[in-house]
Amino acid sequence: MTEKADKTDVWQGTLALMVLKTLEAMGPLHGYGIARRIEQTSGGRLSLNYGTLYPALLKLEQEGFVAASWGVSENNRRARFYRLTRAGSKQLKKETGEWEKTTAILARFLNPQEGR
């Protein structure tokens, strides 16, 4: 019960960015791997509803940022692997920049004395 209060829900736009970043760092990966990796990276502070991951992946695929193909997992299991496309890397760079800008602004806004 207490666990829940510490964990943060992930909203769509951020999830897409996390997926792209994960794929950039890890190379081609299946859905479960992406989900686990995001949770691990967050140090267990993110509670990811795995169900929201697949529509998000589909959306990225439709936009052409990721490509998917069937392959074999480390445990010899058939799985669908996602990899970053060239458009995807560009998008990741762009969104990372925007995200940093936003957080910087927010940081100044919320802690005004630090900036001065």
Binding site: H30, G31, Y32, G33, R36, N49, Y50, G51, T52, Y54, P55, L58, K59, Q62, E63, G64, S73, N75, R77, R78, A79, R80, A87
Partner: protein, 886 residues
Amino acid sequence: MIRSLRAFLVRLAGSFGGGKKDRELGEELESHIQMHVEEKVRSGMDEGDARREAVRKLGGLDVTKESWRDRRGLPVLRELKQDLRYAARMLRKSPGFTAVTVVTLALGIGGATAIFTIVHGVLIARLPFRDSDRLVAIWEENADRPGRRNVVGPANFIRWSERATAFSGMTALYDWRMSLTGRARPEELIAQTVTSNFFTTLGVEPVLGRAFAPDEGPEGRDAVTVLSWGTWQRLFGGDPSIVGRTIQLNGQPVTVIGIAPRAFGFFLKAGSLTGKPPDLWLPFAFDAKSREPHGRYMSAFARLKDGVSLAEARAQMKAIASSLTAELPRWDTGWTVRLFPIRDDVSGDMRPALAVLSGAVGFVLLIVCVNVANLLLARGMARRQEMAIRTALGAARSRVVRQLLTESLLLSILGGLAGWWIARAGVALLTAWSPVDPTVLARIRLSVPVLAFAVLVSVVTAVVSGLAPAFESSREGLADALKEGARTGGGSRRARRLRQALVVAEVALAAVLLVGAGLLLRSFARVARIDPGFDAKGILTGRVTLHGKIYEEDERVMAFFRGVVERARALPGVKTAGMVSFLPLAGLGAATDFTIVGRPAPGPGEEPTTDVRVCDNAYFAAMKIPLLKGRLFEERELRVKSNVIVVSESFARQYFPDGNAIGQRVVINMSDNPDPTEIVGIVGNVRFENLTAESRPSTYWPHPQLVYGAMSFVIRTDGDPKTLAAPLEAAIHDVDKDVPLAEVKTMEQWVGSALSRARFNAMLLSIFAGVALLLAAVGIYGVMSYVVGQRRPEIGIRLALGATEQEILRMVVIGGARLVLLGLVIGVPVALVLSRFLSSLLYETSRSDPGTLTAVVGALGAAAVAASFVPAWRASRVEPVEALRS
């Protein structure tokens, strides 16, 4: 932007054929769960728990799949697909209802599309000229002569074109017949002789070769011609090398310089001497002699200068015309000039009939909507429980309405497809029957605008007929519907009222159509009974026009015709063979003014006029035109100019009301210095122009007095006149092998085409009215069956209390009759008001013809009784006990 467009397109594509992708997702999620489970098991969890945990983390398999599917396709499309699939299933489940509805819709949509195809071709489609709305037709008008479009005199036209500043170009033309020779078989062609600026004024470029140069036309220039597309195809097989080659026209070499575009056929029947569209064009130029007034025989057109309005051009031409009346009083007194947009002239006299037919088909479409609405309403009642359950399970009302509208849309699409087929057949039939001239017909085809119209009509029909039932069905209180559904029948009072109102509307609409059709049929019957003044049965006709140098001598012309007539008389089966310059009911004829010897000369513009025909005695015999008084021509008078004429009864009665016409002498202005001629006989009247116009005063001349190079042979036989066509042509070629025989038709065919317009209108409106009557009957049947079904318990009680079967029968039939009566009370007055639009199509038939009205009331009454009889009979057979129990 591009990314989201890409995503949209992918999703649009993803909306279709999802089976494989769904399976793939299933596999992907399964492998996800497996990996999850394996990991948990490795860390010591029980496999069952691990699996539950994995599914929970996924947020439930089905929810995930659902949101994934939403993302894959477009949810709106997915719902539509669902609705469509469901609608298709519902329609398949009740094939009877579906068939009746689709056929009903097809009749309405098909009929509307067919009529619109014609309206579009005649009134809307672009004319094959550049900026056709800037083109005007110019006619002369004489208040004393019938019609507002009289052909134009060259003397006036020359003066107009010198003085008018409102136009950027003015062109004039006349048409005549020519012989194309130098080929296996001589051929008659219609030539339009046009001023050299004809093509440039109309804004038409030849598809091959060139148009006329401005200096082409005067006598002495090389003879050139532009061929119509049709002639090029028909006679020269579309060979492009014909341009630059020489053909033989009337025995003269003429060089082909161009081919006109396919769609271009310039033909206004009102001004045509031949009554047929042109096969080729020849240039001409006015010479000094043309300035002298000498007759009216041309059609004139002009293109408005930029910035000049039609009204301004009209005012200017009116002013010029009145100054001409002052300058040429003998010639122009009583004459003025009229301008019409060219579109008006091209669609000509089809306008009123098309307006009526469009109105009629609109009414049919309305009835169709009403009927389909009625059918849907009936079904809605039967499906109330289904709707209630769907609502109870959480379907929003808007969703239910959308579902019902999808169903009617699907029905309309099916109806539209079937209707498209009906429209195609209908257009083929219409163009085959129609009295429309062929140049207009060329533009009548199923085209993109027509297709768009059909789609629009289908969708509008779907919405109009589906909306009321959809809302009616979805408005039911949930509990009520379920409760009522437990009992038989059901259906609110409101719904019953609505259905009865629909039937009343249907009957009223049908009454309007029936009245219209009845009036046209009656009028047609009257026209068909008109005695044209001759007996058309067993007569073959064919026309010959002589051209060329050898026929410049009158004696040769007369010898040719005499030779052919003698040979024709000798043919087996021929009873009489004669000839005449202008056949009745076959086009225009010559007419002129005259003076009566011994009476004071009339003022300018007040001379009496007469039709002039050249013929022999055998013409009267062959046509069975009776000699009423005096005698026909003597043998000598048919060979030597003797100055005698025979006149029609109408001529004698109009100009010699005292009955003393025989022996009188008249001077008829058919030549420059006419001799007085003596009236020797009076023959019966003949309807010449058309069947409905009174016959005009006519004079008949023997050949030597007025030598015509164009004559029609009239051959009477006891057998089938068509079999004489080949022998007649052989007889002609026996006399001169280069003379073509044209327009070989039986006299009955000529009469038939004179009737065709009236028949066409009457027939078409009758078809529409028939459909309307049928649909109304179906509607009455539907409502009465429904009412009877609903009242079964009540009828059971009545029967149990001692009512007889006849009483029940009467009760139901009277119920149906009441609806019809109400419909008639509304429909007949509306019909009487609307029949105003029919008056121009009616011949000697009153708009409120009592016979027609009685027949309409009778027909609808009979339909009502017939339609409610079956349900009534069923009601009377209700078993009281059973009815009460159910």
